[in-house]
């Protein structure tokens, strides 16, 4: 019996008197499934992720239902949610330079994730830390564990963050633009690392990005988010082959700039879709 | 919202102090200096003296009003001294960068070890106490705060692309300082000036309480508190009014500074 690791139904998030940041969003992530959530900045992707983690700022008002690993998230006491976070569900953030505590050695920060959720002897924790640091491709794990974050490069730090997210083999990993802040060359290696580690852990993944090309490397299903709503939800192949929503068509076209004949103008999303509604279809 | 509230209250209190100081130049309910042994220690709210009279028979309200003059005078001169020395020092440090910047930081470190009161004591020991020594001491003690703020702000301005462009065009440092740096750091310096004004009022109150500032018969809030201490057992209410005046004035300048800072920093406003 396979019940989804994450199920979101009619989720809305409102800050103050503003327009809803997320307006009636529904989707599910099956065990081991990798779902990409793409959209422009401000479309509500990250707010959705924080709602799933139960980490929205206190002034946010929510409605709808979020089930995580079979348990409701919204309006749940923080103590019970904290037991899930880092254990059954974990999160990888965008900014590796600041995501780690600058005053604590990296090894201790990884060990903390274990210690928070498992009763493990000290020696075993240490061994597990070195094992996972090695597994995320950090050479010399003992040396890395003994370093402070500022002594590591951006790519190394993001590997540490990945290690922290995977060390408890969670059911679901939420990645919020995990490669956006990295150099292009480092991006590729971190993506393939995520790919193999997720496969090994058998974890489901909700991968948030504004970049269809990045999402396409990792995910099997794509959710397209626009102005707080999900406008398209389809398997990757279908999105690429026959995108339905004009905004999605724009995303697909802009992701395929290698197919534009030399000398022609590169496409932009605005060629396919604009908020005023006048779509210039003829450019296809 | 909160910034506007701070600003409004700050402006009202500061305005009150300034207006009181100005009005007292031409009018006070009674003579703020003349001793009247027939009117000694009248209680407040009864009879013709609204806040009563002190141990010399002087009307307390009149004395408080006139004291606002010294408070404003000391504030303006002290902040002026600090501005004139501190800002050029900070801008220089920020423009030169490197060793110059480091040197100014070290100098301000040592400078910070001489707070206003200590300087005032040194000056009083050497020259005798007066409003002048107090103002200079408070002003000098406020220099490092201005120097540091100006330096930090200048460093930031100097790293902006348009300044780099101006330097690449061969604009001289002095021209850059006047054209680009000063206009940009002015708001921050203004905020610091408001806060320093409040600090100056506090320092002056302490100095005149200790007898290290204006000499009698010049009325000051600090001196009034020192006088009031004699009558703590019989007329404790005398110790209330001058203290309230100091606190209101300082609160006014602090709130004004805070409100300005929040208004000037849209990024902060967005976060809170």
């Amino acid at each position: 019996m396979t019940e989804p690791v994450l199920e979101v139904a009619g989720l809305s998030v409102i800050f103050g008197n503003r327009e809803p940041a997320v307006a009636g969003v529904s989707f599910a992530v099956e065990p081991g499934e990798r779902v990409g959530l793409i959209g422009e900045s401000g479309s509500g992707k990250s707010v959705t992720a924080l709602a799933v983690m139960g980490l929205l700022p206190e002034q946010a008002r929510t409605s709808g239902v979020v089930w995580l690993a079979g348990q409701p998230v919204l309006d749940r006491p923080d103590a019970e949610l904290a037991a899930l976070r880092g254990n059954r569900v974990s999160m990888i953030f965008q900014e590796p330079m600041t995501a780690l505590d600058p005053t604590m050695k990296v090894g201790r920060q990884v060990a903390e994730v274990i210690g928070l959720h498992r009763r493990v002897a000290r020696g075993q924790t240490r061994a597990r830390v070195l094992e996972i640091l090695d597994a995320v491709g950090l050479s010399g794990p003992a040396r890395v564990a003994n370093s402070y974050p500022h002594q590591l490069s951006g790519g190394q730090r993001q590997r540490v963050v990945v290690a922290m997210a995977l060390v408890n083999t969670p059911d679901l990993v939420i990645c919020d633009e995990p490669t956006t802040a990295l150099d292009v060359t480092v991006q590729a290696t971190v993506l393939s690392l995520l790919d193999s580690s997720l496969a090994e852990a058998g974890a489901g993944c909700l991968f948030i990005s504004h970049d269809l090309a990045v999402v396409a490397q990792l995910c099997t299903r794509i959710l397209v988010m626009l102005d707080g709503k999900i406008v398209e939800d389809a398997p990757l192949a279908q999105i690429l082959a026959e995108p339905k929503h004009p905004y999605t068509r724009g995303l697909v076209a802009t992701a395929r700039i290698d197919q534009v004949p030399v000398g022609e103008r590169l496409p932009t999303v605005a060629d396919f879709w604009s908020r005023d509604g006048d779509v210039e279809e003829e450019l296809r | 919202m909160k910034a506007r509230l701070s600003l409004a209250i700050g402006l009202i209190l500061v305005g009150l102090v300034l207006v009181t100081a100005l009005v007292s130049l031409v009018w006070t309910p009674y003579d703020p200096i003349r001793v009247d042994s027939a009117q000694v220690l009248q209680p407040p709210l009864h009879g013709p003296h609204l806040l009563g009279t002190d141990g010399f028979g002087i009307d307390v309200l009149s004395r408080i009003m006139v004291s606002a003059q010294i408070c404003v005078q000391v504030g303006i001169i002290a902040v002026g001294i600090a501005l004139v020395i501190g800002v050029p020092l900070g801008v220089f440090a920020g423009q030169v960068g490197g060793w110059g910047s480091e040197l100014v930081m070290r100098v301000t470190d040592i400078w910070y070890a001489f707070p206003a009161l200590l300087l005032a004591i040194l000056f009083a020991a050497a020259f005798g106490s007066s409003t002048g020594t107090a103002m200079v001491a408070i002003g000098l003690a406020s220099v490092p705060a201005f120097a540091r703020i100006a330096r930090a702000a200048t460093l930031q301005v100097m790293s902006q692309d348009y300044v780099l462009a101006a330097r690449a065009c061969g604009t001289r440092p002095a021209a850059i300082a006047v054209r680009h740096v000063l206009p940009n750091i002015a708001p921050l310096v203004g905020v610091q000036a408001s806060v320093s004004f409040g600090i100056a009022i506090l320092a002056e109150a302490a100095l005149s309480y200790l007898g290290l500032s204006a000499q009698p018969p010049t009325p000051t809030w600090g001196r009034m508190l020192a006088d009031a201490q004699t009558y703590l057992f019989s007329n404790p209410v005398l110790a209330l009014w001058p203290g309230l005046a100091v606190a209101a004035a300082v609160l006014g300048f602090n709130l004004l500074g805070d409100g300005l800072r929040d208004l000037l920093d849209p990024r902060l406003k967005e976060v809170r």
């Binding site: 005053t103 | 050497a126 109150a205 508190l225 201490q229 404790p236 100091v246 805070d258 976060v271």
Partner: protein, 320 residues
């Protein structure tokens, strides 16, 4: 190794600062035109006896030699003899140091504890009425002169309720209870202002840390909000608060001078003010130097504390 270099650099800065400060204090007290001999003998004194007294005090010799003697004495703990009492200054000050230090240290500790509690409360509850009131309270505390707070406390608790004495001091070694009884009001009046200042720093430091990415990470790995702050925020808050602690200590020492006057405590401050009134310049010079020394020592310790708290500073050329 890099730690040794970092400590050595800060120690060098400390020594140079101390030297510069000693020159400044000496010049202020010696080179300025307040002639001690004239003051002691009075305006109408016969010039010959003024000159004789000047020679007796050694005031006719070059500045540089007098500076050398003074600093040489300082290094051996000898502050010289008072011009007025003709007695050594050091032994006269020794018992007073204890009074001032206990006042300052007690106030500092109390102010720190209160600032941490109030500052954290004001930061965590900043969107609520109680948090706002805490900030507003600190704003008001900031505007209150410490000596006025002291006077008001005397009015209420010494004159009115008669719970505490209005002034005076009992040595800790002779009568600990009596000492505490006499210290309550002075310490509280000094603490009110200090904790207001520190509360504001703690509040803004916590608000900044609350927005830090690594606190969000801590929450994402399963910490609840408060433990996350304690474990991953406190050090970062400490770096910022320690910075102002050094500066605050200077204002605390100065505040102690005034508070000693309010409560008639026989500390360094009251002696300093007496010496100023009598123009006993060598005593002024000695006490001011002691106070400046205290500030510089604290700043040095603060610098060392940074190294312990923030690992980024330990790397060569490391800044934050």
């Amino acid at each position: 190794m890099t730690v040794v270099v970092a400590v050595a650099k800060r120690a060098a800065i400390f020594v140079v600062s101390l030297w510069v400060a000693s020159v400044l204090v000496f010049l202020a007290c010696s080179a300025l035109p307040g002639d001690v001999a004239q003051v002691i003998l009075g305006i109408g004194a016969d010039p010959a006896s003024v000159d004789r007294l000047r020679t007796e005090f050694g005031l006719d010799r070059p500045l540089i030699i007098r500076y050398g003697e003074w600093v040489g004495g300082l290094l051996t703990g000898d502050l010289g003899d008072s011009y007025l009492t003709r007695r050594p200054i050091g032994p006269d000050l020794a018992p007073r140091i204890g009074v001032t230090v206990s006042l300052v240290v007690c106030s500092m500790i109390l102010a720190m504890v209160m600032a941490l509690l109030f500052g954290m409360h004001a930061a965590l509850r900043r969107r609520h009425l109680d948090g706002f009131l805490t900030s507003a309270g600190s704003q008001i505390g900031l505007a209150v002169p410490a000596f006025w707070a002291g006077i008001l406390l005397v009015v209420v608790f010494a004159v009115g309720l008669r719970w505490f004495p209005a002034g005076g001091h009992v040595p800790l070694s002779r009568d600990p209870l009596g000492w505490a009884h006499h210290m309550v009001l002075p310490v509280v009046s000094l603490t009110i202002v200090q904790s207001a200042v520190l509360t504001r720093y703690v509040r803004s430091a916590f608000i900044e840390v609350l927005a830090d990415d690594h606190i969000r990470t801590a929450r994402a790995i399963g910490w609840r909000q408060f433990p996350a702050l304690m474990r991953h925020g406190l050090r970062n808050v400490a770096v910022q608060v320690v910075t102002v602690l050094g500066l605050q200590l200077a204002s605390l020492l100065v505040g102690a001078i005034v508070i000693e006057q309010v409560f008639a405590l026989q500390g360094l401050g009251t002696r300093l003010l007496d010496a100023v009134a009598q123009r006993d310049l060598l005593v002024v010079q000695g006490i001011v130097m002691l106070l400046v020394l205290a500030v510089l020592v604290i700043n040095f310790l603060v610098d060392l504390a940074y190294l312990a708290i923030d690992p980024r500073l330990r790397t060569p050329g490391g800044t934050r």
